[in-house]
Symmetry: C2
Subunit: 250 residues, 2 copies
DNA sequence: CGTAGGCTTGAAAAGCGTCAATAGGAGTGG
DNA sequence: CCACTCCTATTGACGCTTTTCAAGCCTACG
């Protein structure tokens, strides 16, 4: 018996169909999009500040971050991307990229020309709707991050990020139970939370000391008790706009 | 001679046509959208967290802010809206609002049913494109705010906000030279920048002492020298995606 | 087996928050 | 028109969270 090879763009279709119902023709049209696959090393760039946007990149594997650099040289990570995310849908209508997208780990991306995206959006209303929805969820996450960085202390901020990670990984099918491998260094966690790596270290160790999480290896997070972690992280999953079953970790 | 009464939705059309070219038919279709006008008092709500989104509100006059409240009770303002902004385009595809929109000043809004927005977007590709672009610019501003709050110190953060305000007011035709009336209290500025009102006060006074700005009345900001303020605020206007002529204050 | 990147920890400093008190102005009711 | 209240702005004193600077350690990898 032969299992048919899954289509490379399958993660994108799965994502778009997550909360908008796409019919067979929609799915077929999506899978028929012309694309090129590229493997990018850890630290490699998908988009650089100032680039002219000509294509959208779909994450197939690995993790990437979108970041901005301020005048002092400090960096702020504004979003984290994983399998299924369409990384540059955001910028497809704007002239030049105002940020950088960089791989956190080695991974593969599928690049789709911008005009192909526009064409399918014009032809297939439900696909347009699904993509539109993705960007709105993105915006919702940006707003939550603003609240997180602007108004929560270090412990809450970090616990919140760990919760978000857990759910998004679960939805992307990349982690199951309450444990996962963090794809970020403590310095990157610092850039994502608006803290310093030293303070991230102390805060992680504090969460560990108080048994919210456990780590065998510095990057492997075990969530001891989802409810407790969500509480200390002031985490409510609504902003991720997930399906009901996906809003908690068992 | 009679000057024809300008149409109430004119500010919205002007905004949408700002960087996407809309033809006469597009404009007509936009102006033909059914709407209801509502005057909202200072402190009144346009959207409340948990509301089910059924309509989009176009700001006709006055100012509003979008905010989220965290567990500790602290509030984070995530965006500021003025004439021409379509406040709820963001949430039109998502189930329930994950934030609140509140008037900073008395003002008028035009409410348009969500399905009307969808209809015109489906019928008129360039209108869809213009609205899509608006939400992308919104996202770009969220990202800049994340960098601002996460990685800049209080003085830079506040100066940056003052610069953004100056340009947006100018583009909306609400302020001309380098001076404007701030529609926000210092406490609201604090909620927008992730600081406290006490520290905002000290920071404003510092900017004043060093002659970046002048104030006769606590709310009236005079920008002494745009280049200096932009420098201290680490402000580069690209993220607002304005037309070339609109990127500086005379 | 040496080097580099990431993690960890200590000590001290700085920026920003908290608490508290005062003052001015706008609106309100008598 | 005055007394009263509420809201906003302002300032001082103090304290705490987070940063900065610095050093040591571990592990992966060439």
């Amino acid at each position: 018996m032969i299992t048919p090879e899954p289509h490379i763009l399958e993660p994108m279709v799965r994502r778009l169909a997550y909360r908008v119902s796409l019919d067979a023709a929609d799915r077929e049209a999506l899978l028929a999009l012309p694309f090129t696959v590229r493997t990018v090393e850890r630290g490699g760039y998908i988009v650089r500040e100032g680039d002219i946007a000509t294509r959208t990149s779909v994450m197939l594997s690995g993790f990437s971050v979108r970041s901005k650099t301020v005048g002092s040289g400090a960096r702020q990570i504004v979003s984290i991307h994983m399998r299924g995310d369409m990384v540059d849908l955001q910028n497809s209508l704007l002239d030049t990229a105002d940020h950088t997208v960089e791989m956190l780990t080695r991974g593969r991306i599928a690049e789709i020309a911008r005009n192909e995206i526009w064409r399918i959006a014009a032809d297939r209303p439900m696909v347009a709707r699904a993509m539109w929805r993705e960007t709105l969820v993105d915006g919702s996450i940006f707003r939550e991050w603003l609240a997180n960085i602007g108004r929560r202390d270090a412990r809450t901020r970090l616990a919140h990020l760990f919760c978000e990670f857990a759910l998004r990984l679960k939805v992307a099918g990349l982690a199951d139970a309450g444990q996962y491998e963090l794809p970020m260094t403590q310095e990157q966690l610092a850039d994502a939370t608006g803290l310093t790596s030293v303070h991230i270290n102390r805060t992680i160790r504090g969460l560990e000391a108080d048994r919210f999480i456990e780590r065998d290896d510095p990057r492997r997070i075990h969530i001891m008790d989802w409810d407790r972690l969500a509480e200390v992280g002031d985490f409510q999953s609504e902003y991720l706009h997930l399906r009901d079953g996906d809003t908690v970790i068992v």
